[in-house]
Amino acid sequence: MARFDKLELESQSPAGSRAVQVARPAADDVDWIAQADAERRCGQYENSLRHYSRALELDKSLVIAWLGQAQSLVFLDEFVEAELWSRKALESFPNNSELLAARAQALCRTGDLKQALAVCDGSFKQPGQSAYRWIVRGELLVASRQDFDRHCFDKARLLDSDWLVPLEAALVYLHHGFYSRAVERARQAVEAAPDRHYAWYVQAVCEIELGLDTRAHSSLQRCLELSPGHVEAERRMTDIRHRGFSPFRVLRRFFGRR
């Protein structure tokens, strides 16, 4: 049962393995979490949020579900709600490093960098390591226009080789408008998981923002091969085909991203 998750038992081997079994959420919770994770890997954050909520309905002690909710809200551009929700989760799980990181990310996106940095520092003071904390740290450095954000994202990759890590780093760069850096991370995600359409889609978005229409076109084609009928990919493909003159694009070329 979840209420005994954090009990420290003396016997390690058989009893410990049983404790691990006990600590695992019930099969239904696992299913919901797995579905939420699967949706997240497809970029369907709305569905992901719903599945995390379903998991929490069954077991409110699932920190990963609270965290997933906050992260989904961030990706859905609902930063105020994400901050509120992570704060609420922190009431139940005080000083949880991941939730602190989620709150820092939400604060960062609302624009309150000062508090975000303080919360992120608090997250790093907690024991343990995780890729997400480094991603958030990287995002704060990006938002506050400091160098070394690359090191944070590289560190996150070292800690977790999951392709979602560079992809979410790319999403961070995309949010803050650093497209050339975003495309680099998206490429890493594509290299790590060439069979995931969402990685191709994010790469295409970065390439579109950089004005690399030919590359974006081929990335979108890969995306549509893997996920036929991907609405957003089709829309962007049509945009590329029928792209006309845009003063904003000319202005962007004039100022030239690096």
């Binding site: 049962m1 979840a2 209420r3 954090k6 949020l49 909520s53 929490l56 309905e57 077991d59 409110k60 002690s61 579900a65 909710q69 906050a70 809200l73 551009d77 609902e78 930063f79 105020v80 709600e81 994400a82 509120l84 929700w85 139940s92 799980f93 005080p94 000083n95 949880n96 609302t110 624009g111 309150d112 960098l113 506050s144 226009r145 400091q146 803050h176 408008g177 650093f178 202005l251 962007r252 100022f255 030239g256 991203r257 690096r258």
Partner: protein
């Protein structure tokens, strides 16, 4: 342990399973999200960080390892920031071009060509700022905002005071119609009377405003006299002026002063200036002054209608020189 509500180590609640918690997060509506993108509060953070947090990171791609505050101060002079960043060729080019354009703009000030040159000089300064801002490794919107902000700052700190100071000493005025010794299209500089640089007194050539009045003339003609003219002050407040047969007497004493255009002077005038008035014989009216019945009345110009002292003819360059 039974009865314990929270974990002694991490503080996590141990009553989660029985607790009644809402597990569905609050959501933002579509319009709320759209509105939030323009939320002033959110942008106020961004503006604040742009003004404070981002300024020290002005270095950017080209100008890494350059202290930002000195760089920021050097934006006031075009090319100076580039020279500071050891891009001396570009810096000197911008500075040289700016100085050249500004010099020529000053030479042709008051003319259309001069205005174009002045605009190009300002564009040169803006290019210097763009070069610095463009090196900032950030999004387009932020860079454009920074550029606009810096341009506004430079305008407020450099150009506004400089413009204010310059207009204390010299304001260009284009002559619209021929009025000897000036011709249409000539440019003269005058020092505003309110600035105190050259307070008007007898002998000075001044720009003055005619009182808006109808004046009777011969053959049932009436003139409406208005607008600005340039002429010489012949006497100050309280003085009596007698102008007869081309000779001037001020308070009974002969005076060497004369109106600018002797050919169009009134024939005989005897006028006394009241307190706060100057005597200017209107020789540059552009009408037959001798036909006007009361030339004496329009020769008395109140001090507040003296706009400034005309001291320099600027255009054409062939007649460049002091106005005497």
């Amino acid at each position: 342990m039974p009865g314990v509500d929270a974990c002694g180590r991490c503080g996590a609640s141990l009553q989660m399973a029985t607790a009644t918690l809402n597990v569905h997060p609050p959501r933002a509506g579509k319009w709320v999200k759209r509105l939030r993108k323009w939320d002033l509060w959110r942008h106020s953070f961004r503006l604040w960080h742009a003004l404070t947090g981002n300024v020290p990171r002005l270095g950017g791609t080209y100008y890494a390892n350059v202290p930002e505050r000195p760089l920021l101060l050097r934006l006031a002079v075009p090319g100076w920031a580039q020279i500071y960043c050891e891009r001396t060729l570009l810096g000197w080019f911008l500075l040289g071009l700016y100085a050249l354009l500004l010099a020529f703009a000053t030479l042709f000030i008051g003319t259309q060509f001069g205005s174009v040159l002045l605009g190009l000089a300002l564009a040169c300064h803006a290019a210097s700022i763009v070069d610095i801002v463009n090196a900032v490794d950030d999004g387009l919107v932020r860079r454009v905002s920074l550029f606009v902000g810096f341009l506004f700052g430079v305008a407020m700190i450099v150009y506004l005071p400089a413009g204010w100071l310059a207009t204390r000493f010299a304001v260009p005025r284009v002559i619209a119609v021929d009025s000897p010794p000036f011709r249409a299209g000539d440019v003269v500089l005058y020092a505003p009377a309110t600035a105190g640089f050259m307070s008007p007194h007898a002998g000075q050539v001044v720009l003055y405003r005619l009182p808006n009045l109808f004046t009777a003339a011969r053959n049932h003609t009436r003139y409406f006299l208005a607008g600005e003219r340039i002429d010489r002050i012949l006497a100050g407040p309280g003085q009596r002026v007698v102008w007869r047969k081309g000779k001037l007497e001020v308070d009974g004493e002969p005076s060497a002063l004369a109106p600018l255009d002797l050919a169009h002077c009134p024939a005989d005038v005897d006028v006394t200036a009241a307190a706060g008035e100057f005597v200017i014989l209107p020789s540059t009216l552009g009408v037959d002054i001798n036909a006007i019945a009361d030339a004496g009345q329009i020769s008395r110009i109140p001090a507040q209608d003296i706009l400034g002292t005309v001291y320099w003819q600027h255009q054409p360059l062939s007649r460049l020189g002091r106005v005497r």
